[in-house]
Subunit: 596 residues, 2 copies
């Protein structure tokens, strides 16, 4: 069975709306069909032949025939596995997919929407002329048009889409919207694009290497550093916004948003440089960060503390705390970064570890990445970032777990001596409930880990001291731990994380709508902070929510890049009156996860 | 004979310093060897077997052995012609070249330096890490380093290279310098990077299409308009400078530069925001524009004119002259653009044509370009811009003439009706002395033509009136032509061009040095404004001049992009103490050019 014969058989069975015939093309037992917008107008993964049949039964008639327009076999990535690319069309969109066959049956199938027919992005031969080569009385120039948009959008002209937040998420989505032709305004509280990075502590660099971090359309040049320093990232985002002609209001705070059921539009009140402006976008995207509102635990006595205390996001990262006794509450990424930063600036640092942390050395992640789709080797092999994104995302979340566990075991082997030293220091670490380590924790809870860029050595060496348990209370000049130990402190840093992403919805819109929408992020894995049932996809991210016109966009750079396309396609289709019949995959109750 | 066997034979003969054997590999009669830095440490074209032998005799022993490291045949572009790519190394550099064989002998050979061994640019696997993943006391960040450079470069730390001018030329070269590791400062009189475009008249767009206009390292995204509007170009340059981390002083006027023969360095005095600063760069690059200092003819009575008069570069391009009688002196690119702009803004416009203009419709140039190396078709075929540059430049200037003439004849045929209309209107046009049209005029004199983006229709229709001859004198409220005709005028625009590029050298350095260096640009074609003898290359551009440490960089975007590499390699080699034995091709007295 070749990719070509399989995918043609799949299309024939789908087009006949023969759910059983489609299901029979999938492996009996473990199998997955992941659809990104193309068939489900949603982001869904269905599992097993029943799941596949259910998706066909619900969607085949509504979506119309699928035409396969091309196939490209790919090298096998597992013994006996036949796999490869294909492209396809439905009556309204073009898509691209990837299939992995085992013994002639599909183990995984990806169907991903790429563009709407009739609303293709203006690239290549569709690019605009830029100049009109004939005499025109009172010619309107590019500058006239940019100035008119600046003067009218959000005032006399309503943006179809309003994006809250001009970080990498808002900008990536804004760029997609600009190219696909959705009038969009982006607002951000900070004074300059890029400030979301610039305001962070001074030693911060991206924890992901450069090959993962490209934004859409304008890749980093090939001398870009592996780990981008935060101010350089800020400058990049600023240049990106200018190059992509994004319409952005900075120094603008969103005060309130409410949904008007009658007019099916939002009423959004923002404050821009002291002026209050009310807008009526049809679509509202919260791109306010995967991390929600900063979370500081209410600890008795905190108000009596005579020193300096702040949330990790406000850490200044200079030498003002040299010689000071600093207590960092928390032991995940921010806590480690800040503890190391304090140590580098000659502070006396103690980290309060409240629960075990998954620690993986960045250098070991890099070794894995070097073998993967985001690496210099992949670039040299001619793999485009967009295809790397599809390849990675062709693997359903559940199917990634064995690979994550294998990687985790390899890392434990490579870094045996490191983990022994870390254990000897008393620092508590784990690899997740089922040994999927950071891969699992990031998708399930986006917390609970540290990508080690050096602080773990300080911990192992006792340069950063560690205490365990909670903070019982805070006194005038120190903290008292649940163990009864009293730690004198001049500075307390709360590296205690962020509230859930829909906290923004509650704050900006209402508790009622935030509750209706429910939890954002997480897969329903049934592990800590990610209660079941199993959803198979990240909750509420980049796809329709229970609230008409409300969308959540966020995540790391690769997610911002990749899923901004899906979100833009969904919003554009609605704007153009294309039918978007949505399928919702049923949730599944699963036994608790354990390492295999 | 394949490319591989030919180039190996060439390398063997060169390495044996056997000038006659190398020459015998070239066609007897018309043949060319164009070398960009690799063999000549200069930009030279030698012609004929004698020229080839002379280059070998002078350079083979000094350059050392050439090792061929790879060959890639290319599709034949002429009947019976065998051609293709090869890569090579000398003891100090890596290069790339292209050869065209006819009956087993070379018709054209290109040898181009690409990088210095041991000083490769930090791209791909050589990119910097960006972050140091270990604890470091008082860590220096990227921002610390950028701030230190900003505080010291040009003050306590001398730039090795000072570039005057932050237009596309200065920025492209600055980017090369940054990547190759030459401490460089760029100064520009205008307040913001990109202002060199922003200050131009409002309707201006690039006359070359997007595929030609990429800067090094950061290509335009693929939705970029075909013809970039001038303010968008300004924004792009500004973003580019930020992305490439160029060190630039804006609002900085270069007052005086003098060469210190003793210390072999420059003393350059600049005024930056009112402060006078003296610098001592080793190398000084004038990237002040292919056009030199603006040139306004001294016309008797000009001081008595009661209206508004200005040079074309100061044309505002808004509606302030609506209803006014405007006289545009000149009939080339700027004159046409400004005349059309005035017409679009309801002025009454008369153009004073002093000599015939080569007029080619932009749309016809586009048709030719679509068949060439800078086009969407070329992009789709996978041709990289850097290779397109090498392909175009693999064709020596003299060898381009028949192609230019053939294109010119094709255009005259396509646009027959257009030229008939234009002729009927009385406008005087030509196609160059030898029918090489704009291709010839641009390289020989960089003037004398109009790429028609619409104004010629206005001329043909009489909407823009045309008068011939010179302006004899100017009166209080009009001009008097050499024909005796008196034209009332409220506005006089001098679209009278620019002085020679070495006018900048005279103004900034001295007449003595400007004279020693001599004319910039031009090939020595023996045509108007480009006196012989034939040089085969543009004079003084991107290569050593008669003044140690003085370089000229300029031209359109493709030249700024391509030749900035050669200039950067020459300066870097000198900085690193690599021997740069220079060859100067002898000039040739040729009969005057005529169309074939």
């Amino acid at each position: 069975m070749t990719v070509e014969t399989w995918i043609e058989a799949f299309a024939d069975a789908f087009n006949a709306a023969d759910a059983d015939a489609v299901a029979a093309l999938f492996a009996d037992g473990e199998c997955y069909w992941r659809d990104l917008v193309a068939v489900s107008w949603n982001l869904v993964t269905v599992e097993g032949r029943d799941g596949v049949a259910n998706l066909v039964r619900n969607q085949a008639a509504k979506i119309g025939p699928i035409t396969i327009t091309g196939t490209t076999p790919a090298a096998s990535t597992a013994p006996g596995q036949v796999e490869g690319w294909y492209t396809f069309e439905t009556p309204v969109l073009r898509g691209k997919g990837y299939v992995r066959l085992r013994e002639g049956l599909a183990w995984t199938l990806l169907t991903s929407a790429q563009e709407l027919i009739g609303f293709e992005e203006p690239e290549g031969r569709r690019r605009p002329e830029g100049a009109v080569h004939k005499p025109i009385k009172r010619r309107r120039t590019w500058t006239d048009e940019r100035q008119e948009i600046a003067a009218t959008l959000g005032h006399s002209v309503q943006p179809h889409c309003l994006i809250i937040g001009a970080g990498q998420g808002g900008l990536a989505l804004g760029a997609r919207m600009k190219r696909i032709g959705v009038p969009t305004l982006i607002v951000d509280a900070l004074p300059k694009v890029g400030d979301s990075w610039r305001v962070r502590y001074r030693s911060l660099c991206l924890h992901d290497p450069v090959w993962i971090d490209h934004l859409p359309y304008v890749p980093f040049p090939d001398h870009w550093p592996v780990y981008t320093p935060k101010d350089k990232m800020g400058d990049w985002l600023e240049a990106y916004a200018q190059i992509m002609e994004l319409d952005i209001w900075t120094s603008t705070i969103c005060r309130k948003a409410s949904w008007d059921e009658q007019d099916r539009r939002w009423t959004v009140v923002v404050e821009r440089n002291g002026e209050t402006i009310t807008m009526h976008p049809r679509e509202l995207v919260l791109a306010t960060g995967l991390s929600g509102i900063k979370q500081v635990p209410a600890i008795p006595g905190a108000e009596s503390f005579q020193g300096v205390q702040f949330h990790s996001s406000d850490h200044p990262g200079d030498d003002r705390f040299a010689g000071k006794r600093c207590v960092v509450v928390g032991a995940n990424n921010s806590a480690h970064d800040i503890a190391a930063d304090l140590w580098e600036n000659d502070a006396d640092v103690t980290m309060i570890q409240r629960s075990p942390t998954t620690v993986i050395k960045a250098s070991s992640l890099r070794v894995l990445q070097e073998k993967g789709y985001y690496s210099e080797a992949a670039v040299e092999a001619g793999l485009k970032t967009d295809d790397a994104d599809l390849l990675v995302n062709s693997m359903p979340f559940r199917a990634r777990e064995p690979g994550d566990r294998a990687n985790c075991r390899a890392i434990q082997e490579w870094d045996k001596a490191f983990y022994e030293r870390l254990a000897a220091s008393g620092f508590q670490f784990d690899f997740g409930e089922d040994e999927t380590a950071i891969g699992g924790k990031y998708m399930r809870r986006a917390s609970g880990y540290y990508i080690d860029v050096g602080a773990s050595d300080l911990v192992a060496d006792g340069e950063i001291k560690v205490r365990h348990g909670g903070v019982e209370r805070i006194e005038r000049n120190g903290v008292v731990l649940s163990t009864g130990e009293r730690l004198p402190a001049d500075v307390i840093v709360y590296a205690t994380g962020y509230g859930p992403m829909n906290g923004w919805a509650e704050m900006l819109i209402s508790k009622e709508i935030a509750d209706k929408v429910g939890q954002c992020w997480g897969l329903g894995s049934g592990t800590a902070m990610d209660p079941g049932p199993w959803e198979g996809e990240l909750r509420n991210m980049w796809k329709p929510t229970a609230q008409d016109g409300l969308w959540f966009h966020g995540g790391n750079l690769v997610q911002s890049r990749f899923h901004s396309l899906h979100l833009a396609l969904q919003i554009k289709a609605r704007m153009e009156g294309i039918a978007t019949p949505m399928f919702v995959a049923p949730t599944i109750e699963r036994p608790p996860l354990t390492a295999d």
